[in-house]
C-alpha cells in the first residue's frame, strides 16, 4: 500500500459553517471532525436542519469551507478558486440527488455524456463511455429515453451512471432512495454497494432509509451541526472491508 493510499479519502478537521438568515447568523456546522478511509461506506443521518446537506455540500465542493480543514481525495478545499472547485467536482466527486437532477431535455445517454463533456472527452469516446456506463447500471436499452420516459428507479440509475462517469473517488448521495418505491430503492442500494465493492469508491450517503443505512460500514450522526458517536471520529479500518 502506497503512502497516498494510506491517506483517508475524506479528512475534516475543525469545520464550522454559518449562514446568515433574516439578519442573524445561524451556525449549521460546529467543529466537525471526520475521517473516512478509502473505499468506506458511511451513512450520514440526523434530524432535519441538523446540517447534513451543508456537510455534503462542503465535502462535494459545492460550498467553500468557512473554517477548518477539509481534504477530499487529496485535495485541500479551503481557499480553492471557483474554477478549481469546479475541476474538483468534475474529477473527484460524484453527486446523486433525491430529485435525480437529470436534464429533462436530454436523453439518458446525453445526461451521462454531459459529465464527460465537461471533462473534455471527445464525442465518440463520450458516446462509448455513456453506453458502457448505462449497461453497467442495467439500462443498456434505455439510452435514448428521456427522463420522463423512465421510472424513478431508472432515473436514479441514470444519475448514478452520470455520477461515476469521470471515475470519482467519492460518491456523495443525498437521500438517493427518498423518491423511490421499495423495490427501486433496494435496486439503487445494491447498485451503490456494488460501486464500493467493485470500484473501491468511497460512499457518503445521507439517508433516512434504514435498509440503505444498514449497508453502511459506519454511521455518522449529526445533531445541531455536531457529529456525535464514536464512529464519527474513528472511521473504519480498511481491513474490515476485505
Amino acid at each position: 500500500m502506497t503512502a497516498a493510499e494510506q491517506e483517508p479519502t475524506i479528512l475534516v478537521e475543525g469545520l464550522s459553517h454559518t449562514y446568515a438568515r433574516r439578519g442573524s447568523a445561524v451556525e449549521v456546522l460546529r467543529d466537525v471532525r471526520l475521517r473516512v478511509e478509502r473505499g468506506a461506506y458511511a451513512s450520514l443521518v440526523g434530524p432535519s436542519g441538523s446540517g447534513k446537506s451543508t456537510l455534503l455540500s462542503v465535502l462535494g465542493g459545492l460550498e467553500r469551507p468557512q473554517s477548518g480543514t477539509v481534504v477530499v481525495g487529496g485535495t485541500e478545499l479551503t481557499g480553492l478558486s471557483g474554477d478549481a472547485l469546479a475541476r474538483f467536482r468534475r474529477s473527484t466527486v460524484g453527486f446523486v440527488f433525491q430529485h435525480f437532477g437529470l436534464l429533462d431535455t436530454l436523453t439518458a445517454s446525453e445526461n451521462v455524456e454531459l459529465a464527460l463533456t465537461l471533462g473534455g472527452m471527445s464525442r465518440a469516446a463520450r458516446r462509448r463511455r455513456a453506453d458502457e456506463l448505462l449497461g453497467d447500471v442495467g439500462l443498456a436499452g434505455r439510452a435514448e429515453h428521456r427522463p420522463f420516459e423512465l421510472s424513478g428507479g431508472e432515473r436514479q440509475r441514470v444519475a448514478i451512471a452520470r455520477a461515476i462517469a469521470n471515475e470519482p473517488e467519492v460518491i456523495l448521495a443525498d437521500e438517493p432512495t427518498g423518491n423511490l418505491d421499495v423495490d427501486s430503492a433496494a435496486a439503487v442500494a445494491a447498485l451503490l454497494e456494488s460501486l464500493r465493492d467493485e470500484r473501491g469508491t468511497t460512499l457518503v450517503v445521507v439517508t433516512h432509509n434504514p435498509a440503505l443505512a444498514a449497508l453502511a460500514d459506519f454511521h455518522l450522526r449529526l445533531v445541531d451541526g455536531q457529529l456525535v458517536g464514536a464512529t464519527a471520529l474513528e472511521g473504519v479500518d480498511r481491513d474490515r472491508l476485505a
Binding site: L56, E63, D83, A86, R87, R90, S91
Partner: protein, 429 residues
C-alpha cells in the same frame, strides 16, 4: 423568437425598400450610369462655368483620340469610354417579324396583311444618328434596357433602338418587345464626287433590343465597329470638298472618376485639356444626403423593433434562469464552471436570435418582393421602366447577424445571473 423574427423581417424589408428606392432615384439622375461619371462634350469649356453641374458648352471642338488618351491619364480617372456617332438614313423593315401584329410596310404591300387584324402602318425612311459605344461594361454607361437584349460584343450587324425609333413607327413603349427581331436598313451619307453628289453606304442590321440611352443623341445604339465603318465612309467625303464632314468619330466621352468627391478635380483637369464637361455631382450629393436621412430613419425603425425583441429575449431568459436554478446547480455539481453556465445561456440566446433572424429575413424578403412587384406594376402601367428587384446580400446577412448579436447581448445579463447561481442549489432544491 417570434418577436425577433418579426423585427428582423421589418428591418430587412425597410432597408431593402430604402436601398432600392435610393438606387431608383440615383438611377433617374444618372440615367443608369455610375454616380461618378462625367460626360465630356466635343466642345471647348465655357469660361466661368467650371463649377456648374451642367454648364453651357463653348464652341465646337473635335474630340480626338489623343485628347481621350490624355484624359485617361488624369489622376483618379478609372475609365474613358468614347462615344461615336454618325448621321444615317434609317429604313424600317418591309416585312414584320413572324407572329408580330406589326405591319410596317406601305399599305399597298401585299405582305402587309398577315392576320388582317392590324392596321397597316406606313413608315417612310427618316434621318437619325447611330451611336457607337462599348456596351461591355454596362454599369459604367447611361443605358437601360427596356426590352430584348444588348448587341453581341463587337457586332456590326446587331443594334438596339431607343424610344425615338418606336415613336417614328408610331409605337409606344408597351410595344417595345414587338420590334425586337426585325431588321433595319441604315444608310450612311457621303459626298462621293465633286458637285456634292451624295452616295449611301447601306447596312442591314437586326434590332435585338430597345433601350433608353443618354450616351449620345441618336435613335440607334450599337458597338463602335459599325459606327466606325459608317464614319469612315462619311469622312471620305472631305476628299470631294465636303468640309462639313466630321473630322473625328467621337462626339462625346464618358470619363469615370474613382469616387464622387474626385469628380470636380477630374472635371477641372478635363477643362485644362480644353474640353467642356458636365456631371450631376451637386444634385447627387444633395439627393444622397436626403436619401441617407431616409435610410437612417427606416433602419432605425427596424433596429428599434429588434432591440425591443431582444429585450423580450432577455426577459424570457431571466425567467428561464429563475425556473432552472436547480438545473444550473446540478450542472455545477457535475463540474460546470461559471463560464460554462454563462456560455450555455449565451448560446441559447444566440440560437434564438439566429433562428428568429433567419425566419425574419425570409419573411422580410417576401414582403420586399411583394412591394417591388406592386411598385413595378404601377411604373410599367405608367410607361416607365421598372425598378430592378434585387437585394444586396449584405442586407439579409446583416439582419441575421444583427439579430444574433443583439440577442447575444440581450442574453448577457441573464447569462451572468445564471453563472452566479450557487452550486448548492443542486442540493437545496
Amino acid at each position: 423568437m417570434v418577436s425577433v423574427a418579426l423585427a428582423a423581417s421589418l428591418l430587412t424589408a425597410l432597408v431593402a425598400v430604402a436601398t432600392t428606392a435610393r438606387t431608383r432615384v440615383l438611377d433617374q439622375i444618372t440615367h443608369g450610369g455610375p454616380l461618378s461619371s462625367i460626360s465630356v462634350s466635343a466642345a471647348a469649356p465655357s469660361p466661368g462655368q467650371g463649377g456648374l453641374d451642367n454648364p453651357t458648352p463653348g464652341h465646337a471642338k473635335a474630340l480626338t483620340g489623343a485628347a481621350l488618351a490624355q484624359m485617361g491619364r488624369i489622376a483618379h480617372v478609372t475609365a474613358v469610354i468614347p462615344v461615336l456617332q454618325d448621321r444615317v438614313i434609317v429604313v424600317p423593315p418591309a416585312a414584320p417579324p413572324s407572329g408580330s401584329r406589326l405591319c410596317l410596310a406601305p399599305p399597298d404591300n401585299e405582305s402587309c396583311h398577315p392576320s388582317g387584324t392590324a392596321s397597316p402602318v406606313a413608315v417612310p425612311a427618316f434621318d437619325d444618328s447611330i451611336v457607337g459605344i462599348n456596351l461591355s461594361d454596362r454599369s459604367s454607361i447611361p443605358v437601360s434596357l427596356l426590352a430584348g437584349t444588348y448587341p453581341s460584343p463587337r457586332s456590326t450587324t446587331e443594334l438596339d433602338v431607343t424610344l425615338s425609333y418606336l415613336s417614328h413607327l408610331g409605337l409606344g413603349q408597351q410595344q417595345a418587345s414587338e420590334i425586337v427581331g426585325t431588321d433595319v436598313e441604315i444608310g450612311a451619307f457621303s459626298v462621293v464626287a465633286r458637285g456634292f453628289r451624295i452616295g449611301l453606304r447601306w447596312t442591314t442590321a437586326e434590332i435585338v433590343g430597345v433601350v433608353t440611352q443618354q450616351a449620345g443623341s441618336g435613335g440607334l445604339l450599337t458597338y463602335p465597329g459599325l459606327v466606325r465603318a459608317d464614319f469612315a465612309w462619311t469622312a471620305a467625303g472631305r476628299a470631294f470638298g465636303d468640309s462639313d464632314a466630321p473630322k473625328s468619330p467621337y462626339v462625346a466621352a464618358l470619363v469615370q472618376a474613382d469616387q464622387l468627391s474626385h469628380v470636380q478635380g477630374v472635371r477641372n483637369a478635363i477643362a485644362a485639356i480644353g474640353y467642356s464637361s458636365s456631371a450631376p455631382q451637386d444634385v447627387i450629393v444633395s439627393v444622397e444626403k436626403y436619401l441617407h436621412v431616409i435610410e437612417i430613419i427606416l433602419t432605425a425603425i427596424g433596429a428599434v423593433a429588434l432591440v425591443i425583441a431582444a429585450l423580450g429575449i432577455a426577459n424570457a431568459l431571466l425567467a428561464s434562469v429563475r425556473e432552472r436554478r436547480r438545473e444550473i446547480g446540478v450542472m455545477k455539481a457535475i463540474g460546470a464552471r461559471d463560464f460554462d453556465v454563462m456560455r450555455t445561456f449565451l448560446i441559447e440566446a444566440g440560437f434564438l436570435g439566429l433562428v428568429g433572424g433567419l425566419l425574419g429575413v425570409a419573411l422580410g424578403i417576401g414582403v420586399f418582393l411583394g412591394i417591388g412587384s406592386i411598385a413595378n406594376g404601377y411604373l410599367i402601367a405608367q410607361g416607365l421602366p421598372g425598378v430592378p428587384i434585387t437585394l444586396a446580400w449584405q442586407i439579409p446577412v446583416g439582419a441575421v447577424l444583427g439579430a444574433t448579436v443583439i440577442s447575444v447581448l440581450a442574453g448577457a445579463v441573464p447569462a451572468g445571473r445564471a453563472a452566479r447561481v450557487a452550486a448548492r442549489q443542486a442540493v437545496e432544491a
